[in-house]
């Protein structure tokens, strides 16, 4: 037994309102730079839909993740190591920028400088790649709220076996949002695909990172990840990916996307697992057994034997304590309501999802029944083949039995709480049928409905005595993110892009607290104003002359 700790995330899909706040805050922090305009470490997809990049879930097309060879051994879907080395000059499985959506911006200056007149000036969209006019045709949230679904949704790879029925029953449309970040997999195919060995999984917390100094831009990680969560920075020529906000995690803080989530639907916590069993679990023959196989890799933090072994192998006591309090372990293992996304890719992903009950509840409601009545909801769960099979294709490699069990658990929890709070009678038979108990359901309710910040995020900080060494593992004298084009720098655009950036006025010096506007008036530079009284925030009228 080799005990390792993994920082894992769980998202409760019922609560996601598709507001994209997570996307925007992550973008502002990590990919707000030239070269990564098209990159969203966090993106929110409407399902059904083909996703970002287009149809990324179809591994027959993109060949990401792992598969089993004829002898049942684990092999990268894109073939042998030699095949990658031979196709290094052109990677046949790499998506193009059009699959992500060509990034664009606007020439706002054009609007500002337009002469007075009757027609309203408009800013045409400009390609962020070339600086030339483009017609925008695709983007990471092009399909928001089923936009364009009648034409395109049937191309969603998760609908592959149920197309016929979907076309027939499209009046019964269902939809939900799927926020996606890197899965920080236990068996990451991105790491295995990287010929340079620049990608690595941190042994302490399982975060998967790209060493910017070692990456040589061979771009196999991008195609190797079945979730397409490694991106190619076209300015620096290096791969970048979601970092699980490791500087925050090391400080005991939740990731940006979790911290700012409006629905408060994200949970972060440690899961202990046995690294020796990862390979065997990933090589499980039947894809439908992969969910159970992954669960079997996890270790019970309450087990004294596991605790002793973890301590012996150098996992600090507060980390073991953190694993015991972990909300992600509780949701995934104890209550078994969280499920991995696409376990059939065999990467053993570690961002899990509580499947949404809302598509079912909506139908029950529309049919005039009480969505809190477990009988009505159970009947609907059984009757609603399509959402059920769709969710199964997303989370259990097609096993609807698991989805049914999870949704029933959620439905019973709601009914129980309703009965409890309104003083209604409740038949405990449905509870025992699910193999759970009243206290467990109460516990689950607490976790899903009222858990506060420090219960949703149980993140033991990295050990201070290790901090120097932690920084040093990046093997560099300075932070490479500070290099040209790095997130620390804002990066210089290629001339094509710089060309359409409004030029800085020559008299607008960043340190100066004031600048003279084009109309000759003295104005305050809000970014540099230091509260100096001689430079009043509101210039006096005499100043205006």
């Amino acid at each position: 037994m080799r005990v390792m700790a993994q920082m894992a995330m769980v998202m409760n899909l019922d609560k996601c309102i598709g507001c994209h706040t997570c996307t925007v805050t992550c973008k502002q922090v990590w990919t707000n730079r030239v070269g990564t305009e098209y990159v969203y470490f966090n993106n929110v997809e409407t399902k059904p839909g083909i996703g970002y990049p287009k149809r990324y879930e179809d591994q027959e097309q993109w060949r990401g993740g792992w598969t089993l060879d004829r002898k049942g051994r684990l092999q990268l879907k894109s073939g042998s190591r030699l095949r990658r080395l031979l196709s290094i000059f052109y990677n046949p499985d790499l998506p193009s920028i059009d699959d992500y959506g060509e990034p664009w911006t606007y020439n706002y200056q054009h609007v500002i400088e337009a002469p007075l007149g009757t027609p309203n000036p408009s800013a045409h969209s400009i390609s962020a790649l070339t600086g030339k006019d483009v017609t925008v045709g695709w983007g990471s949230n092009w399909e928001d709220d089923l936009a364009g679904a009648p034409e395109r949704a049937h191309l969603d790879p998760n609908l592959r076996d149920l197309q016929e029925r979907v076309r027939m029953e499209f009046e019964q449309v269902f939809m939900f949002y799927l926020p996606r970040i890197c899965e920080h997999c236990l068996n990451p195919s991105c790491v295995a695909s990287c010929p340079s060995g620049a990608m690595y999984k941190r042994a302490e917390d399982g975060i998967v990172l790209v060493d910017q100094d070692k990456c040589r831009g061979w771009r196999f990680c991008v195609s190797g990840c079945p979730y397409k969560k490694v991106y190619f920075n076209h300015r620096t020529g290096k791969a970048e990916k979601c970092t699980l906000c490791f500087p925050r995690i090391e400080a005991g803080q939740p990731t940006i996307c979790a911290e700012t989530c409006v629905g408060r639907l994200r949970y972060l916590g440690l899961i202990l697992y046995d690294a020796d069993r990862v390979l065997a679990a990933a090589a499980t023959r039947d894809v439908k057994d992969l969910y159970e196989a992954q669960l079997s890799v996890f270790l019970d933090p309450e087990d004294p034997e596991v605790q002793a072994e973890a301590a012996r192998q150098g996992i600090p006591a507060d980390w073991i304590e953190g694993a015991r309090r972990s909300p992600t372990y509780a949701l995934a293992v104890k209550h078994r309501v969280a499920l991995p996304l696409h376990p059939e890719y065999r990467t053993l992903p570690m961002v899990w999802y509580i499947p949404p009950l809302s598509p079912v509840a909506d139908v029950v409601h529309a049919a005039g029944y009480d969505p809190a009545d477990p009988d009505a909801v159970f009947a609907a769960i059984d009757a609603m083949r399509i959402p059920m099979e769709y969710l199964a294709n997303l989370f259990t490699a097609g096993d609807t039995g698991v989805i049914r069990r999870v949704l029933r658990t959620l439905a019973v929890m709601r009914a129980l709480m309703r009965a409890d709070q309104l003083g209604l009678p409740f038949d405990d038979g449905v509870i025992s049928e699910l193999g759970t108990s009243r206290t467990d359901l109460m516990d689950l309710y607490r976790l899903l409905a009222i858990a506060k910040y420090d219960e949703r995020y149980v993140i033991p900080a990295a050990h201070a005595e290790d901090a120097g060494r932690l920084a040093s593992q990046h093997e560099q004298l300075f932070c490479s993110l500070d290099g040209e084009g790095g997130p620390g720098m804002g990066g210089l655009g290629p001339h094509g892009i710089r060309a359409f950036r409004p030029a800085r006025r020559p008299d607008e010096v960043a340190e100066s607290e004031t600048f003279r506007d084009t109309d000759g008036r003295l104005r305050v530079n809000l970014l540099a104003w230091k509260g100096n009284r001689d430079v009043p925030l509101f210039p006096s009228p005499s100043n205006e002359e």
Binding site: Y90, G131, P188, P195, A203, R216, R219, K238, Q476, L477
Partner: protein, 250 residues
């Protein structure tokens, strides 16, 4: 060397040694201070249809040409003669193999240069040094192909192994024979001079990616773990082992 002019010595002795010096010092400098910039700067994301043909053809053609140079320039004529390969057989072989390589490399570089110049998405990622390297490569390739195809394959032939090659090898044995290269046809001279220039600019361009061919990927464990318990930071430029099997001792 007695009847070489000083400008000849500057060109055929000074330039090579200067280029070699810049090549070595430049690489050491770049390796130590610019790991972040050490990449092929792939443009496949922006354009893939032309790259699909241009890049593999160009690279495999280049490797063939490099092999040809190793054989033709570094191996003296008497070695091949000693193992019983007569000069005309050798020349016929080098002309056909060279022509195949030439066609590949030329087709490849035309496609690559074309997409750099005419595909806006690719052009906007191109720096001045990229153009410079590409123009040099084009010059080297053209001046390399003209003698291969028109002189050795179709024409009467010219034994560069008696003029160019001895001078080249002489550079490394410390006794370059300037007069032989100075008397070679002008295409050979341009080819040789431009080649030295490209060695000098090599460390400052994307061409450094060629030294990073990740052959060791074939033996590495698939999943790389790093731990904060690994040794003190490895100095940039030292070749420390950068992975270890989980559980292996430190």
């Amino acid at each position: 060397m007695s009847n070489a002019t000083s400008s000849q010595i500057l060109l055929w002795v000074g330039l090579p040694y200067l280029a070699l010096g810049i090549f070595v010092v430049g690489h050491i400098w770049r390796w130590r201070y610019d790991q972040f910039g050490w990449t092929s700067r792939s443009t496949q994301l922006q354009e893939r249809r032309l790259l699909k043909w241009g890049s593999p053809i160009f690279h495999y053609g280049t490797f063939a040409a490099i092999m040809g140079h190793v054989i033709g320039i570094l191996i003296p004529e008497r070695w091949t003669a000693a193992i019983g390969i007569p000069e005309h057989v050798y020349r016929w072989f080098s002309a056909t193999a060279g022509t195949v390589a030439a066609v590949l490399i030329l087709a490849g570089v035309v496609v690559l240069a074309g997409r750099r110049l005419f595909i806006a998405r690719v052009r906007s990622t191109t720096d001045a040094v990229d153009y410079f390297a590409l123009v040099l490569l084009l010059l080297i390739i053209l001046t390399g192909i003209i003698p291969t195809v028109f002189v050795n394959l179709l024409g009467g032939g010219y034994d560069y192994r008696l003029t160019v090659a001895p001078w080249f090898r002489g550079l490394f044995s410390g006794n370059p024979d300037v007069t032989t290269i100075a008397s070679a046809p002008i295409v050979y001279q341009v080819h040789a001079a431009a080649s030295w220039v490209i060695w000098a600019v090599w460390p400052f361009t994307r061409l450094v990616h060629a030294w990073s061919y990740p052959l060791w990927y074939l033996w590495r464990p698939y999943i790389v773990y790093r731990s904060r318990k690994t040794a003190p930071p490895i100095e940039p430029g030292t070749a420390g082992r950068r992975w270890r099997r989980i559980g292996a001792g430190y």
